[in-house]
Every structure is written in structure tokens, then in C-alpha cells.
Symmetry: C2
Subunit: 373 residues, 2 copies
């Protein structure tokens, strides 16, 4: 058995192998790479032979032969997940079985109906992803410090839950337990319904004249960014979580209808006399709701401090700024450059931990930078 040095400095036991990864896409291959990083034996399987070969070539493990895995991680699309969970449970009768599917209740229930052993089945959902897919986009550090939700139902053996927890640990992620139904309600709210909303808004653009789209700015771009996601995969996710997603959409539709009706009523009346209190209430609640989201950089409960700096828009200027920040031994957590149509403006926002903000401002000012804090 292998040991690894964990984030908090404690040595923890790596999960015991061999671990079988079924599905060598982005997530499956990334899990495999992070297990290999910790020295765990990994075997791989995928019906897509070229994806399997790519994962093997990238060092994610060897192709499944007659190994007997201690743990199976099913990382296949939602439509296939229940069937594969049942099949692997029946084929490897001692193994712990888990998955990485982004919907839990319906898929785990189906897996058991199809013959998966409830005693060895522990649902999982690593909260990681990239805008690119496939094994070529996989990274050994994709799961590092990510949230990885597991949804034990109470029917599992303790040793199986413990093994899945060690899997998460070994991949460098942080485990959180949730009830499967609660998990599905949560992802419907913060992921699946927003996807449907962004796609629906973007779908309206299809038949609009190009002149109208040409004046779209950053707000429209941000609001519809995820509409570029893979439609096939999303149909599968929405199918598996249809009830909770439909519920959130109905809430949104109800409020949008209030807004649309209020605005429509105003177009016949005298414009400036129009009582838009219901619209104002939604806008105010929107501000409040938005402020309740985790830190703008995906950090739970933490927002970085911002230090805006004006730089000239020419080669080398950003380098000069970053060198100055580096000289101060302050880690930049993020960088944003404000954009205008056609060119970046000179305003650069540097994001740092709050306790570094004052030192960064002082240091950059001493180095002659135009800090706009």
C-alpha cells in the first residue's frame, strides 16, 4: 500500500488497488492519473477503444485484463451509468462500486433495480470539469482541492464507504456527504436549471438579425457562456434529474412571468408612471441571491481582495506588473483585464488574499504603478 502527503501535511493511506476505472473520458482519466500519481495500481476500461488507448498512452493505467479490482469507479455518461454500475457489481463480486455521475438518486436506484449490490454501492460526484472533454484533456490535478460529494444511503457496508472516502483523499479532493435527493435538488438549482436557462436565452438568438447580436457585450456573453456546452451530455443529465430541474424552472418561469406581465402592462399606460414594484423586487432579490453564492472564484466563503492597476496596453507592461508583484512575494490568485470592444483597456484587476492587499498596494505604488484602489 502506498502513502501520500496530503494537503494538510498529514500522511494518509492511499486507497488500495487495483482500482478499475470504467470510462476513460475527462473525469475517468483524471481520476486515474491522480491515482497513478499516488502510486496506486489502475486498470482501465472503455467501449471506445481509441479513448482507452489515449488514456493508456497518457500513463493513466493499463487496459483491463483479468485483474480483480478492489474498487470500481464508473465514469460514463448518465444514460449508461446505471447499467454499467449493475454490470460491474455483478462481475466483481467483492469490489466496492462507485461512480462520478452528476445525478445520484435516479441513477443509483436504477442501478440497484438492474442488479447492483446495495451493500457495495456508494454514489459519488466530483465537482470538477473543464470546457474541453476526453482523455487528452485529463489532468492529474483536476480533482485537487475540489469538492467530491458522496451520497451513502445507509445500506452500504462501512468498509465500502471508507474505501470511497480514501479514493477521494487519494485524488486530493475534499469529501462531503449528502443525501442523494438533497444532492440532486442542489445541482438542479445551481447547475442544471442554470444550464437550461442559459441555453434557452441563447436559443432565442438563432433567428435574430446579426446587427442586433453585434452590439452584445460582456453581460450577454457571461449569461450564455455555458450554452456552448455539449448538448448530448446535457440531455442525459437533465433526463436523469428531470423532476428537480423542472421544479426550479417552474419557480423561475413564475417570476419571469410576473416581470413580463408587469412590463407589458406598462407599455399601454404612461411609461414613467408605471408601477414596477414587482420587477424591482426581483432585481433586489437577485442582488441578494447573487451575493450568497460562493466567492467569485469558486472559493467557499472566501472572496479575494481586488487591487486595480492601470497599465499601458503594450507588450511587456503586464510582465513588468507581474514581476513587481512577484518581487513582493505575493501570490496572485487571479487576474482580470477589463475589455472594451476591440481591445483590452489598461485596467488590470489583481486578486490576492485579503491579508496581502495592503502590502501589494504599497509595494506597487512604490514601484511606480498607477494603483486605483
Amino acid at each position: 500500500m502506498n502513502e501520500q502527503h496530503s494537503v494538510d501535511g498529514q500522511r494518509r493511506q492511499a486507497v488500495d488497488g487495483p482500482v478499475l476505472i470504467v470510462g476513460t473520458g475527462l473525469i475517468g482519466t483524471s481520476v486515474a492519473l491522480s491515482l497513478r500519481r499516488a502510486g496506486v495500481e489502475v486498470v482501465l476500461d472503455d467501449t471506445n477503444v481509441s479513448a482507452l488507448q489515449e488514456a493508456v498512452y497518457r500513463g493513466a493505467g493499463s487496459a483491463l485484463a483479468d485483474q480483480q479490482p478492489a474498487l470500481v469507479v464508473v465514469a460514463v455518461p448518465p444514460d449508461a451509468a446505471a447499467q454499467i454500475l449493475a454490470e460491474t457489481s455483478q462481475r466483481f463480486t467483492d469490489a466496492t462500486i462507485t461512480d462520478t455521475t452528476s445525478v445520484k438518486g435516479h441513477i443509483l436506484d436504477q442501478a440497484i433495480v438492474l442488479g447492483a449490490d446495495p451493500h457495495r454501492l456508494v454514489g459519488g460526484h466530483p465537482m470538477a470539469g473543464r470546457e474541453v472533454s476526453g482523455p487528452a484533456a485529463a489532468r492529474a490535478d483536476l480533482l485537487d482541492d475540489r469538492l467530491w460529494i458522496i451520497t451513502p444511503s445507509g445500506h452500504e457496508g462501512e468498509d465500502h464507504v471508507a474505501r470511497v472516502r480514501r479514493l477521494v483523499d487519494t485524488c486530493g479532493a475534499t469529501v462531503t456527504e449528502m443525501d442523494a435527493a438533497e444532492h440532486d435538488a442542489a445541482v438542479a438549482l445551481v447547475s442544471h436549471a442554470p444550464q437550461m436557462l442559459a441555453s434557452t436565452l441563447a436559443s432565442v438568438l438563432v433567428d435574430e438579425p446579426a446587427e442586433r447580436l453585434a452590439i452584445a457585450g460582456q453581460g450577454m456573453a457571461d449569461t450564455t457562456r455555458i450554452a456552448a456546452s455539449n448538448a448530448d451530455l446535457w440531455v442525459q443529465i437533465l433526463r436523469a434529474n428531470a423532476g428537480p430541474v423542472s421544479g426550479v424552472l417552474q419557480q423561475v418561469i413564475g417570476r419571469l412571468q410576473v416581470a413580463a406581465d408587469t412590463l407589458a402592462a406598462g407599455t399601454s399606460a404612461a411609461g414613467t408612471e408605471l408601477d414596477l414594484a414587482p420587477v424591482a423586487a426581483i432585481l433586489e432579490q437577485g442582488r441578494e441571491g447573487q451575493s450568497r453564492l460562493p466567492g467569485k472564484h469558486g472559493t467557499i466563503g472566501m472572496r479575494y481582495a481586488v487591487v486595480p492597476v492601470m497599465v499601458e496596453d503594450k507588450p511587456g507592461e503586464l510582465a513588468r506588473l507581474f514581476v513587481a508583484a512577484g518581487d513582493l512575494d505575493i501570490n496572485l490568485e487571479d487576474v482580470r483585464i477589463e475589455h472594451v470592444l476591440g481591445r483590452p483597456s489598461g485596467l488590470v484587476d489583481l486578486f490576492v488574499r485579503a491579508d496581502s492587499q495592503a502590502a501589494l498596494i504599497e509595494g506597487l505604488e512604490q514601484a511606480g504603478f498607477d494603483v486605483r484602489a
Copy 2:
């Protein structure tokens, strides 16, 4: 009269002053600063004395006394715009009158009803803004290379339209003519309805348990980012453009209802057999619609090339990368750092003009960087 060196290298005549800016908020003060940059005489007025003083202090011009402006730019909130346009038109009987309000038809009509002279009134809308407001956030280069829409109705004198065009030129922006109603339909589609949608989605979060919000990622953050906007200002914008916004919202609601009904029907039937063709169609159209938007950095018709580079997450590493890019004499148009929960990952996306991409990749690789292109 002053001359300025324009972006395309031609010398053009700056607009003739004095120019009166009414409303010294972000946009008004930025217009004033860019006019001052070109040597144009600017006078300022605002009912908010401290905003006026801040703008004067920042060098945006002098407070209005008895000057007779050749041009008046009304840069006040939508609710006040029609009234101020009418008042300034009646006070300065020879001046060209324009505005910067983000809604045109209703406000210009109202201004004329209230007594503005149609012969001298030319509606305008500079497509610029920041997430911060007020004169302290104003910048002389805020309008540089921005689209600035003007909406002549045909009733204006040619000299007045020409003067507003010179104003736009002098501020470094690019003028586009649109019909006022078409302008309002376009901003309803790409700005006002998306605002209402983002706010409505975010408003649903208000009453949700914190545990659900804690797992929200970048998709939710992007989709609701503009929900943080100023609610009072947005009520005014939506009021002034109520009809077109309501129309777009009805389209979105109609499609969302199809999606919600399709998903709800599936929850009673066998999940995996569910026919989600209507949902799939919206997702596919969403992808197509999203791809029709201007370049992801707000550039009309241009998308930058991306060069992903893996760097270690420690002080000085970004500096080393930027110095290397600077040494290649390649201008970085944007930088994005991929984030995971709790920390930035090591993947940095550098955005450059497409014709610089190959040179950047080669140069960075020669400098020993882990380029993931």
C-alpha cells in the same frame, strides 16, 4: 478648433466646444475627460453637487456658468432623461442636443412631447460601462474603440447629426446609426432581457439553504454575474424599454415552459425512456445562438487565439510567464486562470491575436514552459 490623431492615423477635426455635459456620473465624466484629452472646452452640470465637484476636481471641465454650449450631452438616469433633454433644448436654443441613455425611442419621443426641438435632438448610446459607477470611476479612455450608436429620426438638421458624429469621433469611439426602435429591440434582446433573466435566476437563491449554494461553480457564477448590478438604475431602464423587453421575456418563457413541461412529464414515466427531443432542440439551438455572439472578449467578429500554459501555483511564476511573453514582443490581450474550489489551478490561458499564436507557443516552449496547446 482642435485636431486629434485618430486611431486609423488620419487627423480629424475635434468637435467644437464648449460642450456641456449634464450629469457627471461614470459616462458623463468619461465623455468629458475624453473631450478634454482632445483639447475641447467642457462645462459640467449636475444636481448632485458632490458628483459635480468630483468631476471638476478630476479635470473633466468647469462648472456651468453663463457659457453657451454648441453641444449638450445629457448623461442622466433614464427616468430623468426626457425632462432634461427638453429643458436644455429650451435653454440653449442654438445647441445640438444629444444623450447617452441606453433606451432611445420612448425617451426621445417624451423629450419632444416635453418641448425638445426635434431639429436639434440626436439620440445617442455609447456602449460602454463598468461595474463601478460615479465620476471617480470615470476614465478618459472608457469610450476608446467602443461602439456608440446614434439614432437620427430624419427630422434633425444635417449639421446637428454631423456634430454628434464628431463628438463620437473625438471620444475615440466608433459611430453606428440605427433606427431608434431597432436599437431598443436590439438592447432588449442582448442586454435588458438577459439582465432580467440573470436577476430572476439569482432571486431564487434567496430562500435556499446555504449547503445548496456552497456547491455552485463557475457556470452559476457567470450566468448570474450581472444580477449584482444596480437595481434602481435597471428599473428605470426596464421601464423605458418595457415593451421590447417584455416581448423577449415572453419568448424565453415560452421555451422554458416547453422544457419544464417535457421534464415534468418524464418524472412520472420511466426516466430513461423519456423523449426529451424538445429539450434537446433548445440545447442545440442554444449552442448555435451562443456561437453567433461577437468574439468572447467583446470584439466584433474577432476571437482571440488561446495558448494554455501550466504554471506552478507560487509567487513569481506568473511573472516569469509574462516576462517570457513580453520578451517575445507579443501583446497579451487577456489572461484567464482556471479556478477550482479553494485555489487557482496551475492552468493559465493566454489570449493573443491569432497571428501571434504560433510565435507565442514556440517562444514559450523554448523558454521551457509547459504549453498545453
